[in-house]
Amino acid sequence: MKRVLLLTVGLLFLIALTASGCAEDAVSPTPGAEVSSSCVTCHTSEELLQQLAVEEEEEVSEETTGEG
């Protein structure tokens, strides 16, 4: 009886282990693809951004005075 119990627990453990391994494979594929996109390449390059980034000019009325 004890052996049957141990065998059952062992089997359940193996099933759980296999299932978790499968689940990990299922969520991993595409996400990393974006890492090498041009967005990341540019936005992590200080040099490139200094060349390309332009401040959008915010027009503020010269008549505005006082604190907000």
Partner: protein, 368 residues
């Protein structure tokens, strides 16, 4: 806040952000644009940014954070109901197409904020720009986020930026805005009238802070005498900023313009205009808010027809708390000291009617 260069605003100092739970979904899912463009040039940048949404908070954050986003729909940061309820209380008509609604859209709506403007970037109103690369900060940063908008009054008080006034004792001990403010920043399921009427509004004895004040009153005769009739700030706050006479218009170039008088440092104790079971004190501090009866006259005449229905000196909780203050030095420091109290003599003639309910009719007896 010191200016931030254009490139710094969009610079993520390493690619780690692309590996976290938000980065895993890819840039274009939230921001749009075209991530397949490979040319690293101005033309390439323009092509990649075609259809870009710089702040994609709306319609994205709620996909995963639905519980917070649902409450946030009703938060003061989203609805600006603190502004609208004050205008409506003065008889203002904010129905779509009305002159006041147009003014509100042109001058007040900019104070609205989004999830991203607290948790990823600085608020648009403060010039925007990523705070810590593209990291999502669960807790907004005090100077980059909170004070970027709440700077001129509460921020200056808390940080001790008003000349001659010490920083708040809580700040001196290292506390941040979020040490006290938390849940109420996202609102609750109901639209609140203003920040003093939210379901989750905090108080000094919340979360285990200052509960002892209520327990050991015999060690402190001032607490024993005044705990139930004075708001904490009446004894523990010092001079704070008051604003007057804000007028809005559109200038000759079509830009939204605003003028107000220079702010005034002052300290006024008055009658509690929002006395309730939670805010039971008779006396509170009052701050003059920048409103005035003709502030919107550019958009039409008499747009606040019941201006006097609401006081211009409003319930205030200045964030410059000190243990020892001039008014709590002794009984005589406050009792009989007319300078500390808001009386009719302090009011502008055109605001006398509006403030009848908050002026102190008789200065507390000097002989107590």
């Amino acid at each position: 806040m010191p200016p931030v260069e254009a490139w710094e605003k969009v610079f993520a100092d390493d690619a780690e952000f692309a590996q976290d739970v938000h980065g895993e979904v890819g840039c274009v899912i939230c921001h749009g644009g075209d991530s397949s463009v490979e040319e690293l040039s101005e033309e390439g940048m323009q092509a990649a940014h075609e259809g870009l949404v710089a702040d994609p908070s709306d319609g994205n954050c709620n996909t995963c954070h639905s519980d917070i986003a649902e409450n946030n729909e009703c938060s003061l940061h989203t609805t600006l109901s603190g502004f609208t309820s004050a205008l409506e209380a003065r008889g203002g008509n904010l129905e779509e197409g009305s002159p006041l609604a147009e003014a509100f859209e042109n001058h007040c709506q900019e104070c609205h904020t989004t999830c991203g403007q607290c948790h990823v970037s600085r608020p648009d109103e403060a010039g925007g720009g990523l705070v810590s690369g593209h990291e999502f900060e669960e807790t907004p940063k005090m100077k980059d986020n909170c004070v970027a908008c709440h700077g001129s009054r509460v921020g200056d008080e808390f940080l001790g930026e008003n000349e001659g006034v010490l920083m708040d004792i809580h700040r001196k001990k290292g506390m941040q805005c979020t040490s006290c403010h938390g849940e109420e920043l996202h609102g609750s399921a109901e639209i609140a009238e203003d920040r003093y009427h939210t379901v989750t509004t905090i108080s000094c004895d919340d979360a285990g802070c200052h509960e002892d004040v209520w327990i050991n009153t015999e060690d402190n005769p001032q607490h024993e005498q005044h705990l139930t009739d004075l708001a904490c700030q009446v004894c523990h706050s010092v001079d704070y900023k008051n604003c007057y006479s804000c007028h809005v218009s559109i200038d000759e170039e079509g830009l939204a313009s605003r003028t107000s008088e220079p702010s005034v440092m002052d300290f006024k104790i008055g009658l509690n205009p929002i006395r309730s079971a939670e805010r039971y004190y008779k006396y509170v501090l009052l701050r003059h808010v920048p409103t005035c009866a003709d502030g919107f006259e550019y958009y039409g005449e008499n747009l606040l027809p019941d201006f006097d229905a609401e006081s211009t000196w409003k319930y205030a909780t200045p964030h410059n708390i000190q243990l020892d203050t001039p008014q709590n030095a002794s009984c005589d420091s406050c009792h009989g000291n007319a300078e500390l109290f808001l009386t009719e003599d302090d009011l502008r003639p055109e605001e006398i009617d509006a403030n009848q309910d908050v002026v102190v009719p008789q200065i507390p007896n000097p002989e107590y």
